[in-house]
């Protein structure tokens, strides 16, 4: 009983001491306008999509609750399953190749050499360029008779390719454009990783007589691994939702040979106006992306990868 005033005093003094640091409750006000915008143009569409996916929408405004019928039809839809397969095929190639090339590029641009800044800018340019604009140029380059690419192939004695005009070459060709477009992003992420690396392991490895491959394999690669994981997740998400270049270059064709999930989704929604059906596609798509984003966040926190 006697020490209670003392306790109270110490408690209140602690409160006083902590008070200048406790402003957290006021900060949400700063986020309020953004919260309103995010709720109306981002969260509302998400929820509305889920709502639409369990309804059958008729032109003219009517709708029926159909439960999971849209999802059942979707799973049975040959075209949807085919587009899922095409998306996986495209994604695997469009992830692995940029990761390998991006790693090489990061190692190259990590070194000092003349005109490094200029060459790095040129290398990064594809990623900044307007996708539609470069896709149109690629399309002209793919022309079977007059395209410059077949001419360049003929110079080194390779027979002309049909590029995006044949069902067997269309996906590898689109992957090539995607690789051209996004390898720079992988390079930038890994370059950031290389910049923060300690130099000591390399010095001691040199003293121990390690060659450059051993240094890469046993020092660089393990240290770079978290960054490669980040690049891997980002690339996977981006490759899954590729749209512009396929839409412009091949329009999902020939036939449906390059109809990825996103192209399928676009056609169902804005060509056939199957709103409920395409919303079901979005829900499936969204689930995959959220899962991958959470993986990314987990990796990001594990590596404390930040500015």
């Amino acid at each position: 009983m006697t020490d209670s005033p003392a306790l109270a005093a110490s408690a209140s003094s602690r409160k006083l001491a902590e008070k200048p640091y406790d402003f957290s409750r006021k900060y949400w006000l700063f986020a309020l306008p953004a919260v309103i915008v995010v709720l109306s143009v981002i969260v509302f569409p998400w929820l509305f999509t889920v709502f639409m996916s369990v309804n059958d929408w008729k032109i003219g405004g009517g709708m029926d609750f159909v439960g999971l019928d849209n999802f059942r039809t979707l799973i049975a839809d040959e075209r949807f399953r085919e587009s899922l397969f095409i998306t996986i095929y495209f994604t695997i190639l469009a992830v692995i190749i940029p990761i390998v090339l991006g790693t090489v590029a990061a190692l190259v641009f990590h070194r000092e050499f003349p005109f490094r800044g200029l060459l790095r800018t040129i290398f990064v340019m594809p990623m900044m360029a307007t996708p539609v604009a470069v896709a149109l140029v690629w399309k002209m380059m793919f022309h079977p008779q007059l395209g410059v690419l077949n001419y360049l192939l003929s110079l080194v004695g390779i027979s002309p390719s049909e590029w995006v005009f044949s069902t067997s070459t269309v996906i590898p060709t689109l992957v090539m454009v995607e690789v051209w477009h996004w390898t720079p992003l992988v390079m930038l992420i890994l370059l950031g990783g290389l910049a923060g690396m300690p130099t000591e392991p390399y010095e001691s490895a040199k003293i121990d007589g390690a060659n450059s491959w051993q240094m890469f394999r046993f020092i660089t690669l393990p240290l770079l691994w978290p960054y490669i994981m980040i690049a891997l997740v980002i690339r996977t998400i981006d490759a899954l939702k590729v749209f512009d270049i396929i839409f412009v270059i091949s329009e999902g064709g020939p036939g449906t040979a390059s109809e990825t999930l996103n192209i399928f989704l676009y056609l169902q929604a804005f060509q056939f106006y199957k709103i409920g059906y395409s919303s079901a596609v979005v829900v499936i798509f969204f689930t995959i992306i959220v899962a991958l984003s959470l993986v990314l966040l987990y990796v990001r926190q594990k590596t404390k990868w930040n500015a």
Binding site: P45, L146, F243, A269
Partner: protein, 276 residues
């Protein structure tokens, strides 16, 4: 001697890999420029003509003369400019609020918003705009572009504000400043580099966006990327004007990349995940 030889071989291998890495980018941009500066005969010649001789600006003249290019340019400026401006006004304070209150949940929401495909917003927004009679208006496009600009600006600003030591502001708060004053006079000036990076990236991703304008843009309100796809490709199949238009569309972004190279590299390697 073998050491010198090895060093030479190393340098050749290095130069070769550099060449292999950079040449595809040079090829595409060079070819874009080359097509845009040649006449139609040279553009369809076989073997292809690489260096325009003599170079002609006729394709550029045609782009401006035969199409509403200036109208589409104006649309792009309004939509992207507006979306970046509003994105800044609401995104910068939001980044500050999230960084200072350490609310990881809002950061997750922002990340997911950056990651979801644009088409998934488009179906519901399309329906809402249809009900409101706003399909084909620039305001509908501008509002939709906030989906691009707000998350990237918030995401980048969180990173920058987190790196500003809270002690600086605590001192001001103890001296009787309110949170707004400490944001306005201490945090905001210190975060200026972040604002530049966020603004540049938001501009680039909004400018490059194609799908929103394809779905929501009207005949006279579409932005440049969907205009070159829709109008130019159907009205004229000749390569020269098309390449000229493509180059003009992407030129602002390429110039910005060259000028602000350092900021863009910093922003993207700091976690500015790309948008699509």
């Amino acid at each position: 001697m073998p050491v010198a030889l090895e060093r030479l071989l190393n340098r050749i291998a290095f130069g070769l890999s550099l060449f292999v890495l950079v040449s595809p980018a040079i090829l595409v941009f060079f070819w874009m420029l080359s097509l845009s500066l040649k006449n139609e005969v040279d553009n369809t010649a076989w073997p292809p003509v690489f260096i325009p001789n003599p170079p002609t600006l006729a394709n550029y003249v045609e782009v401006f003369a035969r199409n509403n290019f200036l109208l589409y340019l104006w649309n792009s400026i309004i939509v992207t400019g507006g979306a970046v401006l509003f994105g800044m006004l609401i995104g910068v304070p939001a980044g500050y609020g999230i960084a200072r209150s350490k609310s990881a949940k809002s950061a997750v929401l922002i990340l997911i918003a950056r990651m979801t495909p644009a088409l998934s917003y488009l179906i519901p927004l399309f329906m809402v705009f249809q009900i409101l009679g706003m399909i084909g208006t620039k305001s509908a496009l501008l509002i939709t572009h906030l989906v691009i600009t707000v998350p990237i600006i918030v995401w980048i600003m969180i990173g920058y504000f987190e790196n500003i030591p809270a002690e600086l502001e605590d001192a001001a708060l103890v001296d009787g400043a309110n949170t707004w004053q400490s944001f306005r006079h201490i945090a905001l000036p210190l975060a200026r580099p972040g604002i530049v990076v966020g603004g540049i990236l938001a501009f680039i991703f909004s400018w490059n966006n194609f799908i929103f304008s394809v779905v929501l843009g009207g005949k006279n309100t579409r932005t440049l990327p969907s205009a070159i796809y829709n109008v130019l490709t159907f009205e004229q199949i000749s390569w020269g004007p098309l390449a000229a238009a493509a180059l003009l569309v992407t030129l602002p972004v390429l110039l910005l990349t060259v000028i602000a190279q350092r900021e863009i590299v910093a922003g993207l390697s700091a976690g500015g995940l790309k948008d699509g």
